[in-house]
Symmetry: C2
Subunit: 372 residues, 2 copies
């Protein structure tokens, strides 16, 4: 069986044991809270990962692109929520997916989009996107526009959805708990307003990995969406949503040189392999372009991070600026870099090389989909 030493670097490594642990933990939480999980596949984009999540069932899932919807539908997954506001130009594609068997639900937050949906030849189910935290898109749960859009949608309306993206910027567990309640309460309030006005709103969909991890109560919510929890990353660790050892994803890199005077270890893992995500830059601990571990995934005796990155070069140095013991990292040796943001790092790669814990064997290879 091949080992990590047989792989050409840079390569994306997925620890199957950590993945399984992350999946079980979230599923147990959802079971306890009595809410259905609709995993977001935008982080992992792999049918093999989804099979671990859902135990071989056919969904439901959340996608961030119609390309993901295409890919998962081709693998038999039909119950799909496309959780980015629909561009009217994509309605034809959405209808084609439906005609091929997808049970595809769209989201939108404007009258114009609602009218475009109603004009489309194929009737597609829709959730109204809510803004509960000022993060990005959505209508306020309390706005008159909510009811106007509902009226425009007619029998296309299925309910409401929101994503408390600001939870990524919380700096304490208590703040995430509060954000989860803000997310839940806003969505439930909007659904109740719709129902009071005579509209149908069976679906109340919420979620983000931080709020899903810490929500104390999900009364009135019909489903939770989350994706990053499967792999976790340094941003999640930085806000206390996971521990470093819960990070299932890493990038295997080779040492290609030393700049001893500057204390630098040069590797072939640049931003193309790590992504340019600097999500920890504004956190309490800035992890540079990633935290460095040994080839076995374990912490090193020295605290190394990727301090800078060019396209196919990573510069690793000690966090404290002192010179590392270069003899530990000879030219040709392997290291693993934990990612700031699993969604961004994953997307730079076409496949996962699977390991189990600290063992060097590569126990499988899973393809992923990318692009549009």
């Amino acid at each position: 069986m091949a080992t990590l030493h047989d792989l050409e670097t840079p390569a994306l490594i997925l620890d199957r044991a950590v993945l399984d642990r992350n999946l079980s933990r979230m599923q147990a939480r959802m079971d306890r809270l009595g809410v259905r999980l609709r995993p977001h596949v935008k982080t992992t984009k792999s049918i093999d990962v989804l099979r671990c999540v859902s135990g071989g069932t056919q969904g439901p899932i959340t996608v961030s692109t119609l390309k993901e919807a295409e890919y998962f539908l081709a693998h038999g997954v039909t119950n799909i929520l496309y959780a980015v506001g629909i561009a009217p130009g994509k309605l034809g594609h959405a209808a084609a997916l439906t005609s091929r068997g997808a049970d595809l639900t769209l989201i939108l937050d404007s009258l114009e989009a609602a009218q475009a949906v109603r004009r489309a030849a194929v009737r597609l189910p829709v959730l109204i996107e809510l803004d509960v935290d000022g993060h990005r898109s959505g209508v306020s749960p309390d706005s008159p526009r909510l009811l106007e859009i509902a009226a425009a949608l007619g029998d296309s309306l299925r309910g409401v959805m929101t994503h408390a993206g600001e939870s990524y910027n919380c700096t304490s567990t208590a703040a995430i708990v509060d954000m989860a309640e803000q997310e839940r309460a806003g969505a439930v309030r909007a659904a109740e307003r719709l129902r009071a006005a005579g509209f149908n709103s069976p679906v109340v969909s919420v979620g983000s990995t931080p709020t899903a991890t810490f929500a104390a109560d999900l009364r009135g919510v019909s489903e939770v969406r989350a994706g990053v929890y499967m792999f976790h990353d340094l941003v999640m660790a930085g806000i206390g949503v996971c521990e470093l050892d819960d990070i299932a994803l890493s990038v295997l890199v080779s040492v290609i040189g030393h700049q001893e005077e500057r204390g630098w270890i040069i590797t072939d893992g640049g931003w193309m392999a790590l992504s340019r995500d600097r999500g920890t830059a504004k956190q309490r601990v800035d992890q540079g372009f990633g935290l460095v571990r040994g080839v076995d995934g374990r912490a090193l005796p020295e605290d190394l991070i990727v301090i800078s990155a060019n396209q196919e070069h990573g510069v690793i140095a000690r966090r404290d600026g002192r010179s590392p013991d270069f003899s530990r990292y000879p030219v040709g040796s392997l290291l693993r870099v934990l990612p700031n943001h699993a969604c961004a790092t994953g997307a730079q790669h076409a496949r996962y090389q699977l390991v189990e814990g600290c063992e060097p064997q590569v126990v499988g290879c899973w393809e992923r989909t990318n692009g549009w």
Copy 2:
């Protein structure tokens, strides 16, 4: 013929007219300076683009990965410089490329890598990488190690190469001119030291888009490498290497919503489509995640940039913070975003949709290679 309005967004748009102008300008410079151009294909990663560069010839080219070498070799390009320090674990792959007809040259900057090259079953030609600006990798042109590596390489040695990556941080044309001379002088000095010590050094390879654009003199240099100049980008415009109208690459996005109270136009062009590159963040003009133009590529009446980006959402706002005239950008309308960094943005996409100037027709589609 399809137009931009027929494309599903986000989509990567390449203006063929601008590309051709950028290529002609650089080739004319190299002809004037009497130096061979070895284009770096890491930005464009497309045989179709390379055919425009070299007029249908078979190279020479520079690559940043062995995957690029594989791809271009499969299209008949044999003269290839792999310009990232060779990891000993890749020597088998490099040898396999050679056995399939590639005239592949490697680079390295350590005795360990030199010894690994000498131990390999297939003899591969090598350039010693020089550090002329403290930017990244390489040995100093004046160091004893230069001669030690040369001795270890024996008849694998072909010469020296360097890349003045610090030129990207220059803030004036005069500084780039100086950096170009520093790059040239360092490489020529190293080659002369090697020759004086009895080594062969026919190749003296230098280059970066800024230094190639402004070098006043390239005496002693045998070839220049550059890649970004083909597409240009906001980082290059920010240091005066090109004008905004020289940027050949853009990302076509759809408006999917408005947050009127905050002055935001929401699009489906997030960091997945634009990349997370924030290369202009430290420049005089911070372009956010990209500068917004009309669907025809022309400047808009309002100065809009992408102020933030999530995975599949871009938030566009006026640079001055005032509310835009939303009626100009209805839901479903198209915009084009100029990229901070063409290499990073290009790599997020699998293909280029071609246009010619401001015309809406899509005149072709070119695939690109990505990954490893």
